[in-house]
Symmetry: C2
Subunit: 354 residues, 2 copies
């Protein structure tokens, strides 16, 4: 495998992803030329990069970071334009651009489908940062891609500080349908049921409703393209969900059926791995009542740091009409014993759980 | 309204709720007699209360804190046993015990249906605390209840430090169906889809999947009774969801339909009120890359405290295979400007958003 270092890269699409890659590569000394069909985004992105981005040579790699709708057209244009150019994309769905390249008799080995998993709740060049991908997974679907391009892609991922994960195109699209697109649709459908609700009802909302609907705040235009683009992998999952929902409605009055429904959910949830992609998560939760004012959260986190434990997760719950809050902290079972004793000794009101 | 102070209270059901009420009342100097059909729970709860709980007089109030299944029987037994006794319950559904009392020709004005909203992710007397209800909403359905009992109920809520919220029985059951029971069923159904998934797929799970399925970890036996008990209010909500899901499956390939789906979700989510039951939430989010090790979270929270801002919400995201983490903090728009500048000055890598 050739070990040539990248010197000239062109990026098409000056959104959050394209501009963040541009910033990371530029910081690493790569010459970057960033363009966008929207002049405002292009100008803003160039400003963020510290001025002009003229080239003194022809680029070796083109990174296509447009919205899903425009991907295939831009990839085709680039592959046709320059027979020596290599192209990678950063879209959320991989089967469509790959299919479009192969059915257009374009040189498939010169196209690398990739997907950096970052930027979930932010968008636009104004949110871009060179460290956006630091430590985040970056999926690479490199079957059939020529070795020179594989090396380039790996260099881009490495310069961005991301964590490369190899998957086939089919594996990628199936996985994101399940772990990303299905939860998005479900959260949106659930949140949609709240439209027109009586504000008195909504006053009783708790952390459960807020958590289950958080991602319903996502960008409608981007997500409409992602969902429609991965409909093939999504449809069987939704049909399965539909069948389970119909069955639940049928047996809503039967505690035994409802118990299996909740038990099945617990079993499924246990399949979500813990941090660092390792073993399945097994946290112990500590609930702590605090005054809902600046400094309280800091003090409690400081106490945990003193106990030399690692906080795995944290949730803050506010009560309507009150200045009291509830903090729930997740720890490994071993850490939880240490930290619970430490916090109690320091005078915190700790409610251990499960 | 009589302003007599409670002196003798009996509590039936030594679970999380009953034992926590017992601890709060005992701490306030009320004589409490706690019983449970399970001798182990009763013994444990009595230990937690610091020994025996014998009475020197007849109780004025009986608080029924059994699982939903047993509520109506216990309420009826108590109302029949002593014509002077007043009874309140703490169950999650209000129409069923009220219906059961009224159709049994029991003295309805001597029964007060209430629902303390606390204890979501913990259970059993071992998790009980006298401050469990501190600052939490406690729904009271007091239409038709005699003034003496109203005063007693208000005193219990006040001694527990909870925030009394008046609703009719119908309003209560409709509200919790929407803001609590529907999200529970949806989270359980979604999480159930993960059963048997390829572990390689699950490795790509992010915060979105974790948040949407968190409450799927709830207690199956308790929730089966809650769902079945509130099926009347839940059914139309689930049928509506089913219809929206079917429509989504039909139009999965159409970006315009998918865009409305996500837009409807955003509109519904905007109906969830912010903290303290006030205006709709309007947070600004800051994403911060940290080393995933003890002390980092503490340092960042400490920085926020120094800037004198209030953290409204916080999420921790771990990346598979990496020791880097991403912390997302939510602030009021005004606070976010102050804290972002402060954090940047202190050298944190802050990604402002929306």
């Amino acid at each position: 495998m050739e070990q040539k270092s990248l010197t000239h890269v062109r990026i098409v699409g000056a959104g959050l992803i394209g501009t963040s890659i541009a910033l990371a590569l530029r910081a690493a000394g790569v010459n970057v030329w960033l363009s966008d069909s929207d002049p405002r985004s292009e100008a803003l992105a160039r400003d963020l990069m510290g001025g002009d981005n003229l080239f003194d040579s022809v680029e070796e790699l083109c990174i296509v970071a447009t919205p899903p709708d425009a991907l295939s057209d831009v990839i085709a244009t680039e592959l046709k334009r320059n027979p020596a150019l290599r192209v990678m994309d950063t879209g959320s769905i991989k089967s469509k651009p790959v299919l479009d390249v192969s059915t257009s008799e374009l040189p498939a080995p010169r196209f690398a489908p990739t997907h950096p998993m970052a930027g979930r709740e932010i968008s636009g060049p104004e949110s871009a940062r060179g460290d956006l991908f630091q430590g985040r997974p970056w999926i690479l679907c490199l079957e059939g891609v020529e070795p020179e391009l594989v090396a380039m892609v790996e260099e881009v991922v490495s310069l961005c500080g991301a964590n490369p994960i190899r998957r086939t195109v089919a594996e990628h699209d199936r996985a994101v349908a399940l772990v990303s697109h299905l939860p998005q649709i479900v959260a949106s459908l659930l949140a949609a049921q709240l439209q027109g609700a009586d504000p008195l009802d909504m006053e009783l909302s708790g952390a459960g409703l807020r958590d289950t609907t958080r991602i319903a705040d996502s960008d409608p235009q981007l997500w409409s393209q992602i969902i429609a683009g991965n409909s093939q992998a999504l449809r069987p999952l939704l049909i399965n969900l539909q069948s389970d929902l119909s069955q639940a409605i049928q047996s809503l009055d039967h505690p035994v059926s409802m118990q299996s429904l909740v038990e099945n959910g617990r079993r499924g949830r246990a399949a979500i791995p813990g941090k660092h992609g390792g073993k399945a998560r097994n946290y112990t939760y500590l609930a702590i009542v605090i005054d809902d004012k600046p400094g309280q959260l800091a003090a409690i986190i400081e106490s945990c740091a003193k106990a030399q434990v690692n906080i795995e997760d944290l949730a803050i719950e506010h009560t309507p009409g009150q200045e009291t809050g509830l903090i729930t902290l997740a720890f490994s079972p071993e850490d939880s014993v240490i930290v619970a004793a430490h916090l109690e000794k320091e005078g915190w009101k700790v409610h251990p759980s499960r």
